[in-house]
Symmetry: C2
Subunit: 244 residues, 2 copies
């Protein structure tokens, strides 16, 4: 039995997230249906992450088992000729027998794009959060630096996602700005439900002066989701890299 590791990329706008849904179109449904058709056998996949409706992925890893001997190059070509234009397979290889897209994942990098301009750009519709107000990247960068490291991120966890252990290690939060676009990249060994989007919503609160950067340690300490910012919209969020 082969164990296949596949990298895909997708625009999330038309999908109700990655995870298989019974009554809505999810990326997983489309991939599994296409694989099942090509491989000639019912195929179920494991994904590296659930992503919410509207979230994009530049690098998303999945794994599955098959008896089919099709070479990886041929499988990539067959998939890309059948998949819709907003999903593509970027790579594929035979993996070690114990590889699993979700459980083997050591970390991920998400990117959140903020379209910071006076007038919105239609070509960035559904691809970045439009934010027409002045953004003080030094100020939000200072707030972000308090979130780096190992912390209990309960204050930054959506209510559906509570787990027993809410400690995560944020490797870095990197903020950069170019020509009307602000990028916030966050890498961690794992993410709680809505964690990136709540961090972004909180950084916006900091930018607008309703919180100060120095409030971050007490916010982490409070373990109270209601004290953090709102959950920023999904359409600015990209799963950017997965680490194994």
């Amino acid at each position: 039995m082969r164990n296949i590791r596949m990298m895909i990329c997708y625009v999330g706008t038309a999908y109700h997230g990655f995870q298989r849904q019974n009554n809505a179109r999810a990326v997983q449904n489309v991939i599994e249906d296409t694989l099942t058709q090509i491989l000639g056998q019912q195929t179920l996949i494991a994904g590296c992450s659930r992503t919410d409706a509207g979230v994009h992925a530049r690098q998303f890893c999945l794994s599955f088992r098959t008896h089919n001997p099709i070479p990886c190059g041929g499988l990539i070509r067959a998939m890309n000729s059948k998949l819709p234009g907003d999903i593509a397979v970027m790579g594929c290889e035979d993996a070690a027998d114990d590889f699993h897209a979700r459980y083997s994942c050591r970390g991920k990098e998400y990117e959140y794009l903020i379209h910071n301009a006076d007038v919105r750009d239609p070509f960035l519709d559904n691809r970045a959060l439009f934010y027409p107000y002045r953004m003080d990247t030094d100020r939000i960068g200072k707030a972000a630096s308090f979130l780096e490291g190992r912390h209990d991120f309960t204050s930054f966890c959506g209510s559906d996602g509570m787990k027993e252990d809410n400690f995560r290690t944020v490797e870095y939060i990197r903020i950069s700005s170019t020509d009307g676009m602000i990028s916030v990249k966050i890498a961690a060994d794992g993410f709680l439900y809505n964690m990136v989007r709540i961090i972004i919503g909180t950084l916006i609160e900091v930018n607008e002066g309703r919180m100060s950067p120095e409030d971050m340690p007490a916010l982490l300490e409070s373990k109270d989701r209601k004290l953090a910012g709102v959950t920023a919209p999904s359409h600015g969020l990209y799963l950017n890299k997965v680490f194994y």
Copy 2:
């Protein structure tokens, strides 16, 4: 009576071109409905160009007359709050009384994007022509240079667009290439129906060896649409600049 000149920008994917349609959604319908609502009077606009279904515009000029004294800045804000996310107003000003978006236009620049990579990028779906074969930009550049200048472009005119005078002056055709993307910019004093898309289809024929650059003068001379390449898909085409 004020004469207003307005610059808009749109992603053409969801529209049946710019020009008003009775049974389909066109950009003109959306703009006129929104203006009529804001200005409180039935408003009809003139656009600088028809664009085909799926064609995009980074700079599209339109003009209209109104008695409403609303300041241009307020009109921009009102429009952008009401328009769908794939259309935006970039600028607006009171124009001379004889200004007309179409008749005053002295020229335009179109850009055609070719996504030239082994694997298609979902984020470029509907935004560039995916072309996974080697592109010899020197060779197509040589062919393009024969099309610069003043010529009868009948061979490059779609059948619906025949006019009495098919002479046009192509100011330049500039081909550039960066990281998986080839850009072809074409500026002219006017364009025949489908002219840019037929030029692109012809350059692809030249790239693939079915025509040579040196065939271009005879192709122009023939005035025979059937001898040129196919009409390239609309989704790679952008109205990039309009000159007055």
